[in-house]
Assembly symmetry: C2
Homo-oligomer: 341 residues x 2
DNA sequence: GTGAAAGCGCTAACAG
DNA sequence: CTGTTAGCGCTTTCAC
């Protein structure tokens, strides 16, 4: 059996409560006794049992982090930052993957509820109602979603999408495609709205294709549909889809950005590794992870329910350029033909 | 306050031990009582407190998963598979990141020890001694490392490296480079040995460059050094480095595979997304994650300490091809000149 | 089949 | 400053 507080008490000739205090309220114990206790504890290899402590204090010093898909490269930097940040504050983190399934998501929150001091919900696919329901069982901080009254950290993809579309418009593109993401994604809606509004305001056309799974294969599979629209530029829900599209276009000998420009969102590591390097909207995922942890841990102290909006940046690389040179006033059909050829 | 076993007992008119039994040993309780208890529990929203249960049973139903770097794309598929598999067996998983630091690694094991039933150590950077030491505090399963007497799951990179080198030799390459990984990596040693032995046996030359951090920037930074060796083919410690090298070579107008062939290891998602697509050794990371979880959970039952060796597969894509065409018997210097030009 | 009681490892009043 | 006592939520003997 592992060494307990009792063993330390016996070995150092004090009562167990003194040992307890040595660890949980050191200032309440005589420096001499303290160092003696600490010494024997060290020697015996004693480590407080957090679970037992949690039982009485009500604080587990654990947090939960629920994401849609660990293997989606968008999440790991966020997970890493959150975990490192939490550990620095002496918290351990449970990580769980919902596989984009809202039911699994809800189950997970409930299963974890008793073992954690709070949960970070990353890009949740549940309904607002469900989230508010669960919030009564356990403190929640939501990432990449805005729900009134709920603490949240969002990366301002709306603004990112606007920058991206403006960039495309500045290059002369008049017909864009938005390759939309999965159903139930709050982010997806925001991007779509922002992109649509920006294009419309400039008198340009924006065709929405989707929904799609947020993976590269979906981007690749959409290539034909994209070409069929006759658009000369594409904004994708995320980099994965953008990269899939990029390669599928090149495999069809469509030049990027010569004939079609492509913009992604997220700035995952791979977007710098592909050629042409992907123009994309950089999301501060690591900062978001840290901010969310801070928010969750503060929630206990005061009852604050702030909402943080993190700035996103358009990173212009080599997958965007001027639209194909066409006679002014060409019809959509002509553009399509031109692009396809 | 949350609803406890006591609330359920009161509400259903039975003693708390009956409620307890209803959840932990249902067969010991009258079916009628059981369903009544279950009903009120359901209605009150009761969920057993695992921490309290763990205190007495000694089983937390949690496991720890410690990896070198969550953001390294090699790990997320493994983490995902392990987490999903564990959850299916009703286990939650703590994920932690050591940032490639053996000290952090050891601390983490000790910090997690009391809260878990066991820990999965993924590509540990600690010494064998340290690991064996820690093993006495908590059940351990090691992934990607072989230590006698310790349960382990390894992906057979040695065999993978042999296949890769043979593939290169078959294409006619006579001088190879191994771009080695981080110090302290067991995998790195295995690859190096296997690659060296295979090359030597065929009378070919293998130059080892390194150590390197296992990131794409390190691969890119090694481009000059690689060219300076005059080798016509490179095996890299992992795909990230291989991809970095790939791009750096192309940026210098060195054709891949025309002038230099490049092989990676891992088969991360990005290796299929870059052009040319990367020839690489596919590691069954997801299978490894699941196997390790199974091993850890069985360890409690019997005292088995098996070691599983998972097969790796060479995936031939487009970054490898015949070496540059040269007059037979060209000197190394000539080859270097040719390749550089 | 169910209740009573003890106790897992620890903290939190309360005395002294 | 330190010891005493009660008890967090739950399981597990042991009687009945």
């Amino acid at each position: 059996m592992a060494v307990t507080i009792r063993d330390v008490a016996r070995a150092s000739g004090v009562h167990i409560s003194t040992v307890s205090r040595t660890f949980s309220a050191p200032h309440l114990v005589n420096p001499e006794t303290r160092s003696r206790v600490l010494a024997t504890a060290e020697q015996l290899g004693y480590r407080p049992n957090r679970a037992a402590r949690a039982l009485i204090t009500g604080r587990t010093h654990n947090i939960g982090l629920i994401v849609a898909d660990i293997a989606n490269p968008f999440f790991p930097p966020l997970i890493k930052a959150a975990e490192t940040h939490a550990r620095r504050r002496d918290y351990h983190v449970f990580v769980a993957d919902t596989d984009e399934d809202p039911i699994v998501e809800a189950d997970l929150v409930q299963a974890l509820a008793k073992q954690v001091d709070g949960i970070l919900l990353c890009s949740p696919r549940m309904s607002d109602d469900q989230i508010e329901q669960l919030r009564r069982e356990v403190p929640l901080v939501v990432i990449n979603r805005m729900i009134t009254g709920l603490p949240a950290v969002v990366m301002d993809v709306g603004q990112g999408a606007r920058s991206a579309v403006r960039h495309l418009l500045d290059l002369g593109h008049r017909h864009l495609v938005y390759l939309s993401g999965p159903r139930g994604s709050w982010t997806n809606q925001k991007i779509r709205q922002a992109a649509g509004a920006t294009a419309r305001a400039a008198g340009a056309e924006l065709t929405v294709l989707g929904p799609h799974q947020p993976v590269s294969a979906a981007g690749a599979a959409a290539a034909e549909a994209v070409l069929a629209t006759g658009a000369t530029a594409v904004l994708a829900y995320n980099d994965l889809m953008a990269i899939g599209l990029l390669q599928a276009l090149q495999d069809r000998d469509i030049a990027v950005p010569g004939q079609v420009s492509v913009v992604g969102i997220d700035d995952i590591a791979a977007s710098e590794l592909v050629r042409p390097q992907l123009t994309t909207v950089a999301n501060p995922t690591a900062a978001a992870g840290r901010a969310a942890v801070d928010m969750l841990l503060q929630q206990g102290d005061d009852g604050s329910t702030g909402q943080i909006n993190l700035h996103t940046d358009l990173v212009i690389r080599n997958s965007t350029g001027p639209g194909p040179f066409l006679p002014a006033g060409a019809t959509t059909a002509e553009v399509a033909a031109y692009v396809k050829e």
